[in-house]
Point group: C2
Chain length 425, copies 2
């Protein structure tokens, strides 16, 4: 038996704004940052749990304060007890009635809970000697539904229905795991499309993306309509007709403006339109999706929690669901969202990039393939080539695919040298 | 010309959990708290701006950290410039692209921005020598719409429509101000109905409420169905058939459970059912409202921002809109919400109680009466008799009504002695 003896929180910031990597219409100069947590135990194995909330700079200190506020809940606790019931840990923290007031179930405090839950998932996977995707994919349907809080979901998905989905996917788990290990998981790249890049850089990176094997690229739009038309023409010319191009407006538009703007850009054969308007606006997304059909609407990176995703699915307000590894309350809530997507038959194409989001979210898609949706149809994980060098087990993306990690853990541990170099102080 | 020279943030907590004041089905033991901010200037008048975010205990430190993160935006700034364009201050803080990632526009960071904006409204009203309600009610329609961000609202309310609403209410402003000063604003009381109170205390406080002149009381429900039936019977017997009884489930139910539970309680002639389920669930509220019609559904105290309120109105998911003084980004955003309610013809009955929420929110309802909706029809402000003694200008509620404050300011300044006594240390 071991105890939690360390709970370190760190404000890690990378000065990415200097290069305009990550620039889009709402986020012109992000400094990719991590509100980081490290959980240590007194076990002889020396294993630690590492996780973080991704932010884009200012406010990372607030997120660190929120994670730090959870320290007293964990320090001194029995590690085996926590790891044996991570659904219980989720429930304990999310339903703390006083903390709940700060959301409820969304925003700074909810993401902080996610980081803590994910740190224990990292530790659990390391102890199991498996990458997180594999650990999850080998849980029974009953163990998986015990991780999920079905409160507020019963009008769309009950525990029994979730069990049914998971049981239906049990046959073939081993074959799909073998397929994943042999062939990887499809990726698409956002690397060419940042708004801050010149036309020349856009064209060069678009061509390189195709040469590297990507079947889809994504461009940021929504700043200026003439710019969007010109940049889409450059990208379409560069990649040719056979490669998919998605666009991402990063919440720039109001409802009717979105519809009008998308209709002008649809000539470039759009794979999807991402975040056309405010990410909480279920009704506006539903109206936009209906108006521009069959162009799919994608959203989710700012989806505060499972209740918002439930509504987007119920209202047919998204056709591509983009989970994010650190926006909701951790692995458990993302399992709930994967189950909702499977129930509604909607494909999941995770948001990634930032710092460490690729490393973290790949595990969820790979788990989904093996144990939930059971399919790769239309699915792919975002890839952005930033900051991977700071992780102990960086992603392996080549030939347009994510190659399944085999190292134990959740992929969320940053190199100590990077943490120390980029700690804000 | 003066500058901002002080920006003090304080973690103020009252140990209310010891008495079970404020206990409900989701919040069994709140410690009413304020993440408090005090803005000082170098002007000779010595006036300060005071404001806060209300929380219920743990996590108040996180909210203080979020307000503190805004200090560098304000310190040293030109006070007159800020006060002349509080719409500009709102926009500057809400659209800070890096901070925005933490919401966007909801939760801990959004509430922190609200506290800062409200502190400057307090200062502006003190400088003008007027209570906030009067200051607001004397602004022109053009000045008022300049305070509001219409982004994401245009599918429900444009700037021009808002101007039309405000211009239509201009005739009669003086008469309604005189009426307000002579007759006060209707109140209802939640004091009898906390879940932690005994049946005897519920009965006694219900009778006292009627004797004090209240026309409506509110009971917490949703913990246990048999308890709810018994407590409602006691309360109905105590107040008689002529007094309205509202119930508040504090988010306890799922959609179908809510419908079923409300149907069992409707025999007691319910004035409204408050927070039946998750406060972000527009679609579930719409379904519940349709199923239990004509019983009105009330919600809003956890409404993260104007985009959520817009959707609740568009979907006919609430019939009583409950603004909260410290949940959204301050006075400006509440003006947007009042305008939305006026556009949809829905009555506004603010959430209050906690610590200082009565003091703060009364100004918004009084402003609404004079300059926005122009009516008292069906409207009333929640009253809870807790912690008013800690404020410099406590509310004046008697004869079942709020009596309009006349002291300059927003009502949000706490006594220094109370701050010092209850600062967490």
């Amino acid at each position: 038996m071991s105890r939690v003896v360390e709970f370190e929180t760190i404000d890690v910031r990378f000065p990415t704004s200097a290069l305009l990597d990550g620039s889009d219409a709402m986020n012109p100069d992000p400094d990719y940052s991590a509100a980081y947590v490290r959980v240590g135990t007194d076990a002889a194995d020396g294993l630690e749990g590492h996780a973080f909330v991704f932010t884009i700079g200012r406010g990372n200190d607030v997120e660190v304060a929120a994670i730090t506020a959870l320290k007293s809940y964990l320090l001194g606790r029995d590690v085996e007890g926590i790891l044996a019931d991570l659904g219980g840990l989720w429930h304990e923290l999310v339903y703390d009635s006083q903390l709940r007031w700060l959301g409820p179930e969304k925003g700074v405090m909810h993401m902080a809970i996610g980081a803590v839950v994910n740190a224990f998932w990292d530790l659990k996977a390391k102890r199991a000697g498996m990458p997180l995707w594999q650990l999850l994919a080998r849980l029974t349907p009953e163990e998986l539904v015990d991780l999920v809080d079905f409160r507020y979901l019963s009008d769309a998905l009950t525990r029994e229905e979730a069990l049914g989905i998971l049981r239906a996917a049990e046959p073939g788990r081993a074959e799909r795991e073998a397929l994943l290990l042999a062939e990887g998981y499809p990726a698409y790249t956002t690397t060419p499309g940042w708004l801050g890049y010149s036309d020349e850089k856009l064209e060069r990176l678009s061509r390189e993306a195709v040469a590297e094997g990507f079947q889809q690229i994504k461009l940021k739009v929504g700043g200026d309509r003439a710019d969007d038309l010109r940049r889409l023409a450059i990208a379409r010319e560069a990649v040719g007709p056979g490669i998919r191009i998605a666009i991402d407006a990063n919440q720039r538009w109001d409802r009717d403006e979105a519809i009008e703007w998308i209709r002008e850009l649809e000539q470039f054969d759009l794979a999807w339109v991402e975040e056309p308007t405010n990410p909480d606006d279920v009704l506006a997304h539903a109206a936009i999706a209906k108006a521009v059909s069959p162009i799919p609407i994608a959203t989710g990176e700012h989806g505060g929690g499972r209740v918002m995703f439930k509504q987007f699915l119920q209202a047919d307000a998204l056709q591509v669901l983009q989970i994010d590894a650190t926006r909701v309350a951790g692995v458990n809530e993302n399992i709930a969202i994967l189950l909702l997507a499977a129930k509604f038959g909607v494909r999941v194409c995770p948001h990634a990039g930032g710092v460490g989001l690729c490393e973290a979210v790949q595990h969820l898609s790979m788990f989904d393939l093996i144990a939930v949706s059971g399919t790769l149809d239309g699915r792919m994980i975002e890839f952005v080539d930033h900051l991977h060098e700071h992780f102990v087990t960086p992603i392996d993306v080549h030939s347009g695919r994510y190659w399944a990690p085999t190292a134990p853990g959740a992929g969320t541990e940053m190199l100590r040298s990077s943490i120390d170099e980029y700690t804000r102080g």
